[in-house]
Subunit: 206 residues, 3 copies
Amino acid sequence: MRLRLTPRDTTFFDLFAAQAIHLVTGANLLGEMLGADRSTRKEIGKRIADAEHAADDATHSIMRRLNQTFVTPFDRDDIYTLASGLDDCMDFMEEAADLIVLYKVDALPPRVSDQVQVLQRAAELTAEAMPRLRSMDSLSEYWVEINRLENQADKIHRKLLAQLFDEVTDPIQLMKVKEIVEKLEDAADAFEKVANTVETIALKES
Amino acid sequence: MRLRLTPRDTTFFDLFAAQAIHLVTGANLLGEMLGADRSTRKEIGKRIADAEHAADDATHSIMRRLNQTFVTPFDRDDIYTLASGLDDCMDFMEEAADLIVLYKVDALPPRVSDQVQVLQRAAELTAEAMPRLRSMDSLSEYWVEINRLENQADKIHRKLLAQLFDEVTDPIQLMKVKEIVEKLEDAADAFEKVANTVETIALKES
Amino acid sequence: MRLRLTPRDTTFFDLFAAQAIHLVTGANLLGEMLGADRSTRKEIGKRIADAEHAADDATHSIMRRLNQTFVTPFDRDDIYTLASGLDDCMDFMEEAADLIVLYKVDALPPRVSDQVQVLQRAAELTAEAMPRLRSMDSLSEYWVEINRLENQADKIHRKLLAQLFDEVTDPIQLMKVKEIVEKLEDAADAFEKVANTVETIALKES
């Protein structure tokens, strides 16, 4: 055990937990958006943008505190990577939602809902895991499960791509749906990166 | 105040200032390119490639000095991030210019000029800010203004995307213009990242 | 010369060498894939996926050891960057192979073989260089040659893009080939980044 000259700043844990809650909001709104009509989608899109701004503020709070705190609960670089990683999850989900509205894509293939369901589950698991960073308790279950979810997302994504190129004959429609599907896959990857960062932090502490 | 065993190496400030001047050159040439005919565009493209090589050399000088200097004026990581960030601004502008020539896109929508004007302003502000890193003087005005410009760039970009998908019916033409427009948006994002890095540096010093 | 309190952990060199060997396997299988018919391509794709998994395991071994080792042969950050960089090379090659199978692209332009030949040479050079990290011996030849190869890859890539937009009239076919070609270019860039990391490490040691 290392000797600490000052108590560890515990507020980081609260800030990470707060940041992750926005991900749950964002992922759930994205799920709602898929089932909605065009005008409701626009309104839901605004609420996702609000969630993204709130997450952004949370990220900035962490970065500010990081730059002004001498003793941090774990490596500065890992705090930075974790905060940016959580921010990326939100950004990709918001970009996907934004494109759905902007491109006026009415009908998305059913597998897109499967992608979003994986994101909803990943967001919940991430939000549940953040408070456990304090005690480093049962974090391995979290990252194992996120890795499993990311594999699942990857399979859905590949099937979706094959299906799009097999079935969609209008190239512009194909471009639109492909870009949305890829933002959702980027979001799944971003959740995995967060889990990898948590694994790194936990390994260093053990 | 930290005790310093050796004087801080001030040359980093000069190197950053030099690197940022190339961004002004690049952004202005990009503006010229939009108004030019196809053969002049090719010639301007070569001058942008030259500016990109010069910026690349400036980046390498910073990295080399960083690896050989024991005491740096601010955190090594921040110097690295700032130098790479400035390099990214140039790379994206050069890639956009390169695609305009390569894809032989004669008519670009007027909003592309708006995008480039934002980049020209961002490049000027960045070049003016770099020498002020020495004294950390009035840097907040710089990063606030860059953030405002990036928001503006983002709005232009979204309107452009909507317009392209509404108006361009030839999918191959759409692919070309979309890729150029996105490189310009990447450049605007890269300028914002540089401003964020400067903010981080200033916060640590304050 | 710095005084060392404990012997340097040499196993990192073996792990990097092992990781790089998978890149040679991957690049060579990619070359085989181009000349194969559709059903053989699928089978080769599985072998590339196996190589990617093996490389992934090698990366994780390095990261685990990094998190549990107190004295490392060079900067922790550089070890991390080198391991991630090698991993990226493999990922891009695997993604290109995966898309070739997924998109059922039968005929690829001859220049794609030129791209893959550059990757095969880059992989060999990288695998040969990794064991030399131990002695820091003749590494400059390696990174100079990789930079030359990347320039060559870049030229092939630009010519390929121009050719695709000139010759391919089916936009969906264009989208498919363009994405494959860009993954291969990303792989060439990733090899260059690895060489840049090695250069950084060597400069710090000199």
